[in-house]
């Protein structure tokens, strides 16, 4: 209660200070929508779950205190006076109070709206009401009559625009709204029609959307009254198109197509006149309108486009802009439909999958149907935009717009060519020229993507060779522009949209994966989910090994890219500076140093090069160690475990025995060669460990085939400490899968061969180490080692006495002071219980063999049964020792 101050003054009276955000945060937990920032601090008792109905940020009780609601003006349900307190009274549940207060407040606003001239007070009231409605995701019930009034005020031509806008905003915010009586049928004013449409389109009702569509098309068909502009209607139409494309009839589509074609192609080429502002200095000047100009200032020689410049614009020029802005969606929606119905025989080259286009043939001399005509005009428009984009803009921002226009123009050309192959040849020659014009300019790189997409879609039909275009795109662009986040996103998107390209392993696309990973390495947060989608398409038996290395080296690649960027930014004089004889002092020097140059080059390669792999990248990883803490590198490192898991999942689907063996050997090798980021290594070990066990399960034969490598790894005590996850999983896999039931080659000799090094390791960590006071090993590893040795003994019963004796010594182990100081009591107890259970089991060798060497499971149920070794152990223990807790002596 004591913290319930509302210290925000009324608007216009002064500052609340920057504390508004802080206070808002105090009040609302989680990601809040429209918090009543700085408005009210909620009473303590009601803070949690502030979003629930009746618990929204709105607390209006402050205003009642001191009798403030007797004031005639609209009071502030959301704001309170400085110093006013919120009373948190337990007998007033929030919901009823709010509802009642909201009703009263709405009544006041209602009175103001119905007054002779709704002014600033009404505006203020509506603004607050909007906040009240918007601040919660649960419904706020407003009186039906009041909602009706809002609609009446919205539609009244006498209402000030600001009030209309606010009414619309409230109605939109409440949508879907049951009390809607709004209709756009009678509205003549195009601006108001647009505003009312925004409310109707927010209802999520197909009928409303269709009605709006009909009304807008009707308005566009007729001549608009004086002073009204279609400019406000086209965006409504575009939105109707998006929400429910089926809202227009075929005839309407034709009518609008005809209009769009005219607006697109025949906008005035004279500048508009300035609106007389009525100011002191303005005088009505009667000047001849000047011609429009290009972005570089030259007088325009052809028709008007969005890149045409004027001091003032005419209405039809505005319509030109809007038409082009919605053109792509219009064509996608309605551009192609007519092909099936309209005089198919009359046209050559329609739907070109059948007929190759005749490039020389024109279609002059016959009037085109509306949609075909729109395509024609649109194509010309795009050609003109491409021509205009070569001009040097006077304003820098127009340069950005030129590039966006170029992308749009190429995309529209692509759509048009898909709909009518007649245009393919013209487009190909135009885009070839465009490509050679912009391919050397990095600032145009994003436009290369739609160009490449165009050639992917049409080059076969046009019989042109576009390999050079793809090669440039996939070789040079990622290598040079990996640091451009927008390009990176669009590039990866392009790859995702064209995954069929990656099925041909010899293709430029497939080969370029090292380049693609640069995007991920540099921009990991926005791209990780995209790469999760893309990675399966990059993987096949030929790329598996190289991609495995790439993934493990991904953070290292980030660091190398960082150095590459910095090296490129160096002035030319310093670039050659490094002394080839001495050892480089910094990473930057090393970048060009002969000692490291080839390693950098390999890591930063642009395409797959399995045969060029250097002996080892270890020196490079060490060199780049200084960058391991950089946030970008760390972010990249965090993505690796996700991709590694996916990698193994995908590879498991196609890998044959030799590939799995190769991977296991690599996995063990690479576990020693990771970039030095402790958390990264820990995560990677975790994934590699569990995946190693999975691979062994997939192909148990690898245990025998790779016994040398496996024994070398599992025989090293140091691996338990540094790579516990891998070690433990490997030891478990040996116990689980080294069995004659999995592989006929698992003879007694083989089992003994595995048994001895593991026994030695367990001996070392349990019998020797306690005295040596070395760091402890994970209890999990000890437990798994005991179980594995027991399993092996059950399969080769000569070993049973050795294991039993070993297990019996565990009591001494857990009691030794050196051990109790390192392990927790719980862990030691678990180790001891497990040792006892295993020992008991070994007392009945035939049972042990049955329990510990389960048959090869083929069903999920069997596998689950097999996984419950502890359960089986406990059961056997209970059978043997009715009194639980009996310890080995």
């Amino acid at each position: 209660m004591g913290d319930g101050f509302c210290r925000v003054p009324r608007r216009g009276r002064g500052a609340a200070g920057p504390g508004w955000s802080r206070r808002a945060r105090d009040v609302h937990g989680g990601c809040r929508e429209l918090p009543a920032a700085g408005e009210v601090r909620q009473p303590r008792g009601q803070r949690h779950g502030a979003l629930g109905p009746g618990r929204g940020g709105w607390r209006g009780r402050a205003e009642r205190e001191g009798g403030e609601d007797r004031h005639s003006g609209p009071q502030l349900p959301v704001r309170a006076r400085p110093g006013a307190r919120l009373r948190d009274s337990p007998d007033c549940p929030g919901r009823e109070i709010q509802q009642e207060e909201l009703r009263r407040f709405a009544a006041r606003v209602s009175a103001l709206l119905q007054g002779p001239e709704p002014g600033p007070e009404a505006v203020d009231g509506l603004q607050r009401l909007h906040l009240t409605v918007a601040a919660t995701k649960y419904p706020r019930k407003l009186d039906g009559e009041f909602v009706e009034l809002l609609q009446t005020v919205l539609c009244s031509p006498k209402s000030p625009e600001q009030i209309q806008v606010l009414c619309a905003a409230i109605l939109r915010e409440m949508s879907p709204c049951n009390d809607l009586i709004l209709s756009c049928d009678e509205i003549q004013d195009t601006k108001l029609l647009s505003l009312v449409s925004s409310v109707l389109l927010a209802q999520g009702n197909k009928g409303e959307v269709a009605a709006v569509g009909q009304r807008v098309v009707k308005a566009l068909e007729r001549r608009l009254p004086e002073g009204q502009s279609a400019r406000f209607l086209l965006p409504v139409l575009a939105n109707v198109l998006r929400l429910s494309p089926g809202s227009l009839t075929e005839e309407q589509i034709d009518v609008v197509s005809k209009k769009l074609a005219d607006w697109l192609r025949y906008a005035s080429i004279q500048q508009g006149m300035a609106q007389p502002s009525g100011g002191f200095f303005s005088s009505p000047r009667t000047k001849q309108p000047a011609p429009i100009t290009e972005v570089d200032g030259a007088v325009a020689t052809d028709f008007f486009t969005v890149l045409s410049v004027a001091q003032h614009y005419t209405q039809d020029q505005w319509l030109n802009v809007q038409t082009f802005s919605m053109l792509r969606n219009w064509l996608l929606c309605y551009g192609g439909k007519e092909l099936n119905t309209l005089n198919p025989g009359a046209r050559a080259g329609v739907d070109g999958s059948e007929t190759p286009p005749v490039c020389a043939a024109g279609r002059a001399g016959r009037p085109l149907p509306p949609r075909e005509r729109l395509r024609d005009k649109a194509f010309e428009y795009c050609q003109r935009l491409i021509e205009q984009s070569s001009r040097r803009p006077l304003k820098k921002d127009d340069g950005d717009l030129q590039k966006a226009c170029l992308i749009e123009a190429v995309t529209i050309m692509d759509i048009i060519c898909k709909q009518d192959s007649f245009y393919v040849c013209r487009a190909v020659s135009c885009l070839k020229v465009l490509h050679s014009r912009i391919c050397g300019d990095g600032t145009y790189a994003r436009a290369l993507l739609p160009i490449a997409q165009f050639f992917l879609n049409h080059s076969k039909l046009a019989a042109v060779d576009s390999d050079a275009i793809y090669k440039h795109l996939f070789t040079d662009i990622p290598a040079q522009l990996f640091h451009n986040p927008s390009l990176a996103f669009e590039f990866v998107q392009f790859c995702k949209d064209n995954t069929q390209l990656f099925t041909d392993s010899s293709s430029i696309f497939r080969q370029s994966f090292p380049n693609l990973f640069k995007f991920l390495a540099w921009n990991s947060p926005p791209l990780i989910s995209e790469f999760v989608d893309l990675l399966p398409f990059l993987l096949d038996p030929d790329t598996t090994i190289e991609i495995f290395h790439l993934l493990l080296d991904l953070p290292c690649l980030t660091a190398a890219l960082d150095i590459q960027l910095r090296a490129a930014a160096l002035p030319a004089s310093e670039k050659a500076g490094a002394d080839p004889a001495g050892k480089p002092a910094t990473c930057l020097e090393a970048f060009r140093h002969p000692l490291y140059k080839s390693l950098f080059q390999y890591l930063l390669r642009t395409k797959a090069a399995p045969e060029d792999a250097p002996e080892s990248l270890v020196p490079l990883r060490q060199l780049l160690g200084s960058l391991a803490g950089s946030p970008r590198v760390v972010q990249c490192a965090e993505t690796v475990p996700v991709l590694l898991e996916l990698f193994f999942r995908v590879v498991a689907e196609f890998a044959d025995g030799s590939l799995i063996n190769q991977l296991v050997v690599l996995l063990l090798q690479r576990s020693d060669q990771l970039y030095e980021i402790p958390a990264f290594k820990e995560d990677v070990y975790r994934v590699l460990g569990s995946q190693l066990a999975t691979l062994c399960g997939l192909r148990p034969a690898l245990l025998v085939e790779l016994s040398t490598e496996i024994l070398e790894f599992s025989g090293a005590v140091s691996n338990i400490q540094s790579k516990e996850a891998i070690f433990t999983h490997l030891a478990w896999a040996v116990g689980e899968f080294l069995s004659v039931s999995h592989d006929k080659r698992c003879t007694v000799e083989q089992i003994t061969r595995f048994f001895e090094p593991l026994e030695a390791v367990l001996f070392e960590i349990t019998q020797l180490r306690p005295q040596a006071s070395t760091p402890s090993c994970a209890p999990r590893a000890i437990s798994v080692l005991m179980a594995t040795l027991t399993k092996l003994a059950a399969r080769s019963q000569d070993l049973i006495p050795r294991v039993s004796m070993f297990l019996s010594k565990m009591r001494t182990f857990v009691q030794s002071p050196a051990v109790t100081s390192v392990y927790s009591d719980e862990d030691l107890e678990e180790i001891l219980i497990r040792a006892t259970e295993l020992m008991n089991l070994l007392k009945m060798p035939s049972v042990a063999q049955f329990v510990l060497t389960p048959p090869v499971a083929s069903t999920q149920f069997q596998r689950e049964v097999n996984d419950s070794l502890p359960l089986a152990l406990r059961m056997v223990t209970q059978l043997l020792e009715p009194a639980p807790g009996s310890m080995p002596v």
């Binding site: 809040r32 905003a169 709204c177 927010a202 209802q203 969005v306 921002d397 127009d398």
Partner: protein
């Protein structure tokens, strides 16, 4: 087309806050069980939750980008600088949200962070993203100015009309416009604001 605009304070260590959000129309048929008494509120709740999900994702992307640039985002709001600021170097980005989460269809979100605030456009997947970035760079300073976002007080919450007015000109019904500098100046004249750059 743009489905929605979201303005949020990503909030650094604190949870993000949506300061303004506007959806451009609701696709019909997204609400389950239309016609029942609860369908309306549920549809609205769904719309709000979708925008919240966008906001959360934007906030986290924004924080990750800030940290990768070595600029930890400060929870304090700096004052609006007197001279016009350049948004060329303002941190921003793009990401995609998969179908079904939170929108039924795939969407691309384009965002731009200016001082302590972040602006985001939720675009249809095949949208011209260069144009979306341009639109965002134009909207951001104008919204800052007309909502007095960085000034004292919290006008942003109480001036939906100002934000709507801007969007009606620069992003009418979610339609992004190819406006060259001169067109933009004309829009600014109509809005009665001085060119902010």
């Amino acid at each position: 087309m743009v489905r929605a605009v979201v303005l949020l304070a990503p909030g650094g260590p604190a949870p993000c806050r949506v300061l303004y959000a506007r959806s451009f129309g609701t696709p019909p048929g997204t609400g389950t069980g239309t016609g029942t008494a609860t369908a309306g509120p549920r549809q609205r709740l769904c719309r709000k939750e979708q925008l919240l999900a966008v906001a959360r994702q934007v906030a986290s992307q924004c924080q990750l980008l800030q940290s990768s640039l070595g600029r930890p985002s400060s929870p304090q709001l700096p004052q609006l600088p007197d001279e016009p600021m350049s948004l060329q170097d303002a941190p921003g980005g793009l990401f995609q949200m998969p179908p079904g989460d939170p929108f039924p269809e795939r969407v691309t979100v384009v965002w731009l962070s200016v001082l302590a605030l972040t602006f985001a456009l939720v675009c249809e997947p095949q949208e011209n993203l260069s144009l979306a970035e341009i639109t965002l760079r134009r909207l951001a300073p104008r919204l800052l100015l007309s909502l007095r976002l960085l000034g004292p007080g919290a006008d942003v919450l109480l001036r939906p009309d100002a934000a709507d007015g801007l969007l009606d000109r620069l992003l009418p019904h979610g339609q992004m416009l190819f406006l060259n500098e001169r067109f933009l100046q004309a829009v600014d004249r109509e809005l009665g604001i001085k060119a902010s750059r």
